[in-house]
Amino acid sequence: MTTTTAGNAFTNLANPTRFLNLSGAVLPWMTGITALLFAVGLFMAFTAPEDYQQGVTVRIMYIHVPAAWLSMMCYTVMAISAIGTLVWRHPLADVSAKAAAPIGAAFTFLALVTGSLWGKPMWGAWWAWGDARLTSVFVLFLMYLGLIALIRAIPDPSRAARLTAIVILVGFVNIPIIKFSVEWWNTLHQPASVIRLDGPSIHPSMLYPLLVMALAFTLLFFTLHFSAMRAEIWRRRVSSMRRRAAQAAA
């Protein structure tokens, strides 16, 4: 009985119409809180002290680090969605993976560009191919582009969903490589300084602006993701209704 109730609740949540209603109610709030967090985060980022070694370029960290975190988090969301597609055939799982791919590509692009703009004045080089962190993030960017192309290349939606889900899960191996590359190999990129077993190594005057900006970026991602999912559900409805109209006319 309890299992049935839980199953019914899961089925209800998996319902696209229910998702549209719920997301429609929460999105205005998410948009407002995201804007507020960005205002506070940017104020904190530009009033935080300059680093004694990096000088003013430390301010790039407040957008580079959240963008890099999101590039990996977005792929993790896609991997969870891929499991939902392959194992449970969740109606929203494929919608979620498809909607997340362009957003993930954009944040990965930002991580690469802002990292490069930080690297030139600090390292004296825009890019270093021998660096495992830089190269693995670039591979992630190529994977996002490849997935977007794959989704668009297969006309049958259910076949595209299954193939994309398999490729996403295979590509997930790159996420731990990105995360631990700075520990496994001797790289130019500095090691983790926030998520560490012995606690953050950044001074609180720079850590708090970074955390607020990370929260703002994360909420921005979910706001964009939910909005893109709504558009994708409507796109599928339009497609289905056009097929019905064509069948009725034939």
Binding site: T17, G55, V56, T57, R59, I60, I63, H64, A67, P102, I103, A106, F109, L110, V113, T114, L117, W118, K120, P121, L220, L224, S227, A228, R230, A231, W234, R235, R237, V238, S240, M241, R242, R244, A245, A248
Partner: protein, 60 residues
């Protein structure tokens, strides 16, 4: 090049990319809703929106 220029470029490019993402999502939503409204105005209904008696297929 001054270090301020690198910071300005990083924030400028980030602002442009995020603005483009927001614009893409908003325009995509608007276009899909317009298409849905046009189909509904023509009397086309989704299968799940039809009354149970009118449908003979059971595909959901």
């Amino acid at each position: 090049m001054s270090h301020d220029v690198y910071v300005a470029l990083a924030y400028g490019i980030t602002a442009i990319v995020i603005a483009a993402l927001i614009l893409w999502v908003v325009l995509d939503q608007r276009a899909r809703r317009t298409e849905l409204s046009e189909l509904e105005a023509r009397g086309v209904r989704r299968r799940s929106a039809l009354p149970p008696a009118s449908g003979t297929d059971h595909g959901g």
